[in-house]
Symmetry: C2
Subunit: 366 residues, 2 copies
């Protein structure tokens, strides 16, 4: 984490009413979100291109008295129907969420009791540990296997209530294939959420496993977000794909109206414009592939990525110094320290011009 949170002094006469799990935790620290100023923001994997023009149109249309004054559809059926067509599932296999954070929270509350166990590989998305803490559950890390980024073939840890697998993984951008995912579910025999925030930039995904749920020994849930590949981080929209009986349990856990009318209109328009989506996705993948040899030449060690970011550390330069140097040049990347693994920079893929500017500045720093 690039930052840490400090508490104002909570007076003891108030603190004694707060759950011990909450008092004892630090809280997840999201990436920096400067709301103004001219910063090249390559720190939180936003899409450098705007969303589909149809999204802007849908939002402007939704900004009318009737849509705003009335409650939205609690289930977000317009989105479910549009997404079902894209993924070849039924609308009832889909649950809408206020970002995939909402989906991950709902999943934790559906599957993990207090004192239960949430498990994820290391290094991975740090939020999973926070979700466990919030639920009063234990958090168990396991190691990637093989030459670095494969799933274990034997399970030696405790039996978790939920395993969270970011796939592609953050910070590495590496991806486990669908056969290996299925084998892993058969090995662990506990609920697995494949957090596919970055799967649109990758060759594989776990949607086939959801469709084949009846052949698997434990629940498989896919979590998706429109924040990255659909360029809608500002809108907060994510969704889950799972067997419809599991979706029904998750509905009990979600807030009644977790997605607002404007976000639903935007998300429905976004997923409906697959041509635009494919065009910006192709550009980002091309820019990513072109960036790897350039970073190599600058002396960085880069992990081959299937996401819209690259993890890199420099052979000789300290990542903190590089982070500061970039920052002074108004370029924000994510500096992450993973204890017992590495410290490095996670760089979101911008436009070609933005990446060229980044390389120019880096050339002066290394």
């Amino acid at each position: 984490m690039s930052d840490s949170k400090t508490n104002n002094a909570l007076p003891p006469d108030l603190a004694r009413f707060v759950r011990g799990d909450i008092l004892g935790m630090k809280g997840y620290v999201p990436g920096e979100q400067p709301q103004s100023g001219k910063v090249l923001k390559l720190n939180t994997n936003e899409n450098p291109y705007g969303p589909s023009p149809k999204v802007l149109e849908a939002i402007r249309e939704a900004a009318n008295d009737e849509r705003l004054r009335k409650y939205p559809d609690p289930m977000g059926n317009s989105f479910r129907e549009a997404a079902a067509k894209v993924y070849g599932v039924k609308p009832t296999n889909i649950l809408c969420g206020n970002g995939s954070d909402d989906i991950l929270t709902i999943l934790t509350r559906t599957f993990v009791p207090q004192g239960g166990i949430v498990s994820s590989p290391y290094p991975s998305y740090l939020l999973y540990e926070t979700l466990a803490q919030l639920q009063g559950a234990l958090f168990h890390r396991f190691s990637f296997a093989g030459n670095g980024w494969e799933l274990p073939e034997r399970w030696e840890g405790p039996k978790p209530n939920l395993i969270c697998l970011a796939n592609p993984n953050s910070p590495s951008g590496t991806q486990v294939g669908s056969l290996a995912m299925a084998d892993f579910v058969r090995l662990v025999r506990v609920p697995v959420v494949f957090d596919e925030a970055y799967a649109d930039f990758a060759p594989e995904n776990a949607i086939g496993l959801v469709k084949e749920q009846h052949t698997l020994p434990a629940p498989v849930i896919v979590s998706r977000t429109l924040s990255k590949s659909y360029s809608l981080a500002g809108i907060r929209f994510g969704f889950a794909l799972a067997d419809e009986t599991l979706i029904e349990e998750m509905v009990k856990v979600k807030d009644s109206y977790n997605c607002d009318a404007v976000a639903l209109a935007a998300a429905t328009a976004a997923i409906g414009d697959q041509a635009y989506f494919e065009s910006i996705k192709a550009k980002i993948i091309a820019t990513r592939q072109a960036a790897i040899p350039k970073l190599d030449r600058l002396g960085f060690s880069v992990i081959p990525s299937h996401a819209n970011f690259l993890w890199c550390d420099h052979v000789t330069h300290d990542p903190t110094t590089l982070f500061q140097g970039l920052r002074e040049a108004n370029i924000l990347v994510r500096l992450i320290h993973y204890p017992a693994w590495r410290s490095g920079l996670r760089i979101s893929i911008g436009t070609d011009a933005e990446m060229d500017h980044l390389f120019d500045v880096m050339t002066k720093l290394v």
Copy 2:
């Protein structure tokens, strides 16, 4: 509740992975939200007037590439600063939420451990029991005192971790005064959330208690929503007011980006236009006051209300029959059965013309 949810058969091999608390509960059933058709919707306390024209402008302005593709401000500081001025508190006393449902969920997770107790009076908002179930906590009801709608002067139940007090209460629309609220906090000495979803239509509120937190023996939190008085049910925006040290604990519990960029822009514009807010509020209160004698004359028993709805039951006619009769005339009200109390109709206040139409139809039914 006017409806109940039935489960698809959850196969036992999947069910065994779901928390028992979730399997065992029914889930909260929100009021019906028809998304099309010509229905006079008086069932979920929406505002009959549209939001401030400045809100529509703010949404259209926010619908641009930069706002949509980037993450929003995690804390929603534009709203906090605007609301702080309105309520005479500091921005750090305010927490933004994705509707007040989000705030109530955050509060439950901040204060209530599994096996803890959530308490609320009866009859009141049914969601509080659902929040307890989701948290694996017990739910304890207590009775209103006095001639019906006052707070108890002695506490005889178990010691809860959180008391939820809808004030004005739903379904009654009755309000407890601020002195009685303070006395109650001194009596129970546990965290109390005053759920003030309807307080803008009422003479009193608990914001003074938040400011005087240091004089009180336990946390006081005020929950507010823009859904009703600011006519933004479609946008999902609520907020909490509390001591800033408590807000910091709640920040740990919330999703990092719980409010989206468009909703934040809308909410900030709405709270900034106090003149518009006052004008529609005054109209709704006038219509409410005019409705009471009219319902009386039609043979209804009406509870005097400080909210934007009226609870009524008819001296001779069954509420279910009346509900059906209204429905056939395309008027939707909320039919609620409160076991061991009453069944009746909760009718949201519409425009004068809408209420006249309601009375015309009712005249034929009774």
